[in-house]
Point group: C2
Chain length 259, copies 2
């Protein structure tokens, strides 16, 4: 099943997609608990989509494909970090290159959505608590990433966490294909079979120290090499069995903040 959210005026409405994929049906209640699918049918065409979920936190994995390591050592543990919910964007939204950020790269990733509270979970428990999968772009400002002590803005500026277009629930995490395209040209290609730390392992590892809540999302790592995004480009992240997340790139038209 596919879950999404779309804008209706100023509010995001949750919906599920019909099998035909031409219409969606709005949902009321809690996607992870009691909810009701309405009889209303809304044509998908013409909807402006938002991020398909509102996570209480966003966890992400660094250095999780060998192809992305270059001369760095393979990490013994998953190397995690946090992105703030204010960085979320939806399919069709623009990625805004912040004034003064310098180089900003795409990082196409498979994103996991948690469906049930996890704490001290085994890998099997983590696997069974996954709600679904979506496409994500872990947009990364390299100069800030190298210059700051922590990656709060390098990975956390507004629009640096586009996800979508929807969440697919009927997918297994062991071999999901992933591609990134810039202006239609393939730039990254991998499968989750190549992850250094598997998705259940990452979730179990995170849940050993922090509670993962229903709706929380995990960016699982980016493969290969990445390149800077330029204003006017279109970046697409394609996850097999899900679809394509499309975001244009735009520059922020203001003077850099005084630093």
């Amino acid at each position: 099943m596919r879950w999404l959210r779309y804008w209706q005026g100023d509010t995001l409405r949750t919906a599920v997609m019909e099998a035909s994929q031409d219409y969606v049906r709005p949902v009321s209640g809690d996607p992870f608990g009691e909810h009701r699918v309405s009889d209303e049918r809304v044509p998908l065409a013409g909807l402006r989509l938002g991020p398909p979920i509102a996570p209480s936190k966003i966890v992400a994995v660094a250095l999780n494909y060998r192809s992305h390591l270059s001369d760095r050592d393979e990490p013994g543990n998953p190397e995690l970090f946090l992105k703030p919910p204010s960085a979320l964007a939806g399919d069709g939204d623009a990625i805004v290159l912040p004034a003064g950020a310098g180089r900003v790269d795409y990082e196409g990733e498979v994103v996991v959505v948690i469906g049930r509270r996890l704490r001290h979970a085994t890998e099997a428990e983590a696997l069974s608590a996954i709600f679904g999968y979506t496409c994500g772009n872990d947009v990364s400002a390299r100069d800030w990433q190298n210059g700051d002590k922590q990656w709060w803005r390098a990975k956390g500026a507004d629009t640096f966490a586009p996800i979508g277009p929807w969440i697919e629930t009927d997918l297994a995490p062991s071999d999901i294909s992933l591609r990134t395209l810039v202006d239609g040209e393939e730039r990254q290609a991998a499968t989750t079979a190549q992850l250094i730390h598997s998705i259940p392992k990452v979730l179990a590892f995170a849940s050993a120290v922090m509670t993962l809540e229903p709706g929380d999302i995990v960016f699982t790592g980016t493969p290969g090499t990445t390149q800077p995004l330029l204003p006017g480009q279109m970046v697409e992240v394609e996850v097999g069995g899900v679809g394509r997340l499309r975001n244009s790139v735009t520059g922020e038209h203001r003077a850099p903040p005084v630093q």
Copy 2:
């Protein structure tokens, strides 16, 4: 005015304190928008308090008092990082030392609560958007902080962000006193007049790249040196004009996760 939240069964209720400080009055609605203070009076004594606010994100500042720098350079920009909302705890809750974490230190801090959405704010705009202040403990696992690439678990494990006991709205940020006590003995003492980057500057700097939402909180930095917390200790963070946040310390009684 003082705002707090207390547990009623499984839910947290928002309330404001009466002038006498003996009773609280439950509030319905949005503390930052339309809300109603009820006529019901609930005795403060005997209430179990929760974190006084539910932030969409927690921003924190590293290296913001000269007394905490030792041989490190004074940062030109505020050095920020994120803590996850799952790390929150309230006054009276235990700080749990995670199995396998090694050394875990207290870091007493003044915490700012945002009252109005901020983006590209000037320092004056940021100042006027502050809702209030509370006490916070930026609990920090030093071995993880030194060994991991990012501080996701060093600063983000469950119970590593106690705040409270309440939010005081009638306070100016320029000279707020701060003390930390362990088992009644003073371990840290400073005032926000000694901050390297002032509170309005930190907020303006953060808002240049990320939207700060009403309810978001900012840990403003810790002074002096810090020491490990031990099971059985009581750690208190006192903020002048607010009060004291009290948390006991307990060990996690389970085998460390396989790593």
